[in-house]
């Protein structure tokens, strides 16, 4: 009954407030008169975020954490449904980069103006800074950035004779793993991260899913996936599927499924493209099942830049992370903006990096002593460079449809064929954007 009670109280409260508005204006707005801002967060890094919410609560307001589901698709659905319903209790939101254009386009995000905009973008790396701008306005604050690197077992690369000091290609990685009985971990379930992989490989070959010059035109964007770059990306997927290096659950693999195959009880381990949390993850698992057996084994974990699709062409690592948006229907827009800036402050970013392995978006944080202590210097440098030179996913208000269209034509990985998949997916994507095909 507590919940309905609360809802009823709110309704009654609102009515009471309306009638008493003239005389007791200040008294309306919460039980104690102190408003609570709801902050919808992703499950990753819950503990640090809860602490941040507490630290950023002030004498004027409290911040309460609301947990979103784990998958990006579900997060988007939950938030968008609330916003479409004009929900005034959605104050702060942790947004995946790809939601930003769609939400901004639907006028669901409050903008940050002038001074606040400067604070939001102060010292922020180019990759994340670009993500939070829509129609020349700042619509969110980058809180942390995510990127993928190639994690691997040094012993496995060495046994295969692969020189990891030079940029490596997907071909080399797959061959090396297959030769040694190792595996290559990717994300190829039918979900968002599969598109992350495909997009990164296409961009790494110098192409794009949608033409970057017209991508912001929404339905009128030009589809460019049917290109040599698209074919190159498809060829990598096909090669992995046909090689002995594919993991048995390839077509249902996600960021978590391949973690256990890095330090298996038998076998040489794996190469794996995965997000930045991997370092903290294995560090915390030393001596436990699924993790490195001891410190020595942990030393065997290596990291280099995302593999190249085409030899000699710089790879474009994926970029992800979290941007803090303020809901358009909040009753406390100024408080919410202030809180958004607070939970994305350099101190907050330091805490997220140290506790959870989330890479900062503000450049200066990379030089802080806390990070230097928590991460090896070369890893920090690799993360910063990867984020700065990352290849974003199409910045379109229709991204969710674009992503779904790609998933539908490129999944399962075993069906991918360089000669047909890019072409078929281009035709389908065009039809989807025109609203002429079901997803």
């Amino acid at each position: 009954m507590r919940r309905t009670g609360a809802a009823l109280r709110r309704t009654l409260g609102a009515a009471a407030c309306a009638t008493l508005a003239v005389s007791f204006l200040a008294a309306c707005g919460g039980d104690s008169g102190k408003p609570t801002l709801n902050w919808y967060i992703n499950p990753d890094g819950q503990e640090t975020l809860t602490q941040l919410a507490e630290d950023c609560s002030t004498d004027d307001y409290d911040i309460a954490i609301q947990l979103l589901p784990a998958s990006a698709t579900d997060q988007r659905t939950q938030l968008a449904r609330r916003l479409a319903a004009g929900d005034s209790s959605t104050d702060l939101m942790s947004l995946d980069p790809v939601f930003v254009p769609e939400f901004a386009n639907a006028d669901w995000l409050l903008t940050f103006e002038d001074d606040l905009a400067d604070q939001a973008l102060d010292d922020v790396l180019d990759g994340p800074a670009d993500i939070v701008q829509w129609n020349d306005q700042v619509v969110a604050v980058p809180q942390w950035a995510n990127t993928q690197v190639l994690w691997y077992r040094k012993s496995l690369a060495e046994a295969a004779g692969l020189d990891m000091s030079q940029p490596v290609t997907w071909d080399q990685v797959i061959d090396a793993a297959a030769d040694q009985g190792g595996t290559v971990g990717v994300q190829a379930n039918r979900y968002e991260a599969y598109v992350v992989w495909i997009n990164a490989m296409i961009q790494g070959a110098g192409g794009n899913i949608l033409d970057p010059d017209t991508v912001e035109d929404g339905r009128d964007a030009k589809v460019t996936i049917d290109s040599q770059a698209g074919k190159d990306a498809a060829a990598v997927i096909q090669k992995l599927v046909d090689s002995g290096a594919a993991q048995p659950d390839l077509s249902t693999s996600n960021e978590g499924t391949s973690l256990g195959r890095m330090f298996p009880s038998e076998g040489p381990g794996s190469f794996m493209v995965n997000w930045t949390f991997v370092y903290s993850n294995y560090k915390g698992l030393i001596g436990q099942p699924g993790g490195p057996a001891d410190d020595e084994a942990f030393e065997d974990l290596g990291w280099v830049r995302y593999p190249q699709t085409v030899e000699g062409e710089d790879s474009k690592p994926p970029i992800g992370g979290i941007e803090i948006g303020v809901g358009a229907f909040t009753e406390h827009p100024d408080f919410a903006r202030e809180a958004a800036l607070c939970v994305a402050s350099p101190e907050a970013q330091t805490a997220l990096a140290v506790n959870d392995g989330f890479a900062p978006t503000r450049e200066s944080v990379y030089d802080s002593p806390e990070l230097a202590e928590a991460f090896p210097a070369d890893l920090l440098e690799l993360l910063r460079d990867s984020i700065d030179e990352a290849g974003p996913r199409p910045k379109s208000a229709f991204y969710s449809q674009i992503s779904n269209a790609i998933q539908s034509r490129w999944h399962p990985p075993s069906s991918v064929n360089p000669d047909t998949t890019p072409e078929r997916s281009a035709a389908f994507l065009k039809a989807v954007l025109r609203g002429e095909a079901l997803l």
């Binding site: 809802a7 990753d44 947990l67 579900d74 659905t77 609330r82 319903a85 973690l259 256990g260």
Partner: protein, 281 residues
Amino acid sequence: MRNDTLSRIGTALGLALIVIWCLLPVAWIVSLSFKSQEAVTNGSPGFFPSGGGGAGWQNYVDVVKDDQFRQAIFNSIGICLIATALSVVIATLTAYAVARLEFKGKKFVLTTALVIAMFPVVSLVGPLFDMWRTFGIYDTWAGLIIPYMSFTLPLAIWTLSAFFREIPWEMEQAAQVDGATAWQAFRRVIVPLAAPGVFTAAILTFFFAWNDFVFGISLTSTERARPIPAALSFFVGDDPFNRPASLLAAGAVVATVPIVLLVLFFQRKIVAGLTAGAVKG
């Protein structure tokens, strides 16, 4: 004689098969709920938790400590009980009319109930979402109670009218002839006869509401009203990238406890209710 023994052995064998069929997956989910989360992340195939992969009661402790899950249980119990109570009251009125009275719209009532029972609920969630956000009952208990009521009504109406048809209503008159007042006759004779039917309808209605998933995920978006099935499907543990299988299993077991209790105590009534319409065909 020999034939008899054979058939008895066959029946016993069939009995064993039925019990295994019904309970194996339940046993499995219970067993899974005792695997430790680490073991599950790193892969621990097999029916039982193996060598060091057991978790004891840890998963249950974690589940019960989880605010979202607790809230979901609370939501589900509250929403389902309210929906059940209201639905059964309304259905009782309708069933009484259907069973006892002659009236013009009877066919319409029964056809409507039949159509609703066959209705593809998914085709409603879009417009309902649109309506609920206009009415402001999106993501509230009321937003779920209303559709649960409408979709449990057909089942409740059928079950109840089948029961009501069996009630010897003339006993009421008999009691009155014996000097009881109308109210006494109703209370002492009809209520005891009708009560089991009403109760059975309530259990079936509760099952139905407890099981709902489509409305649960479509018409809620926070723990404010999200019921258990939806909460389970969105359940996240400490590791955002792996579905916390064993934790989920523990949650699933907790969500199944009310069902098992109802079944244990009222199995006879439930079976009677489920087949009420069909038996007397």
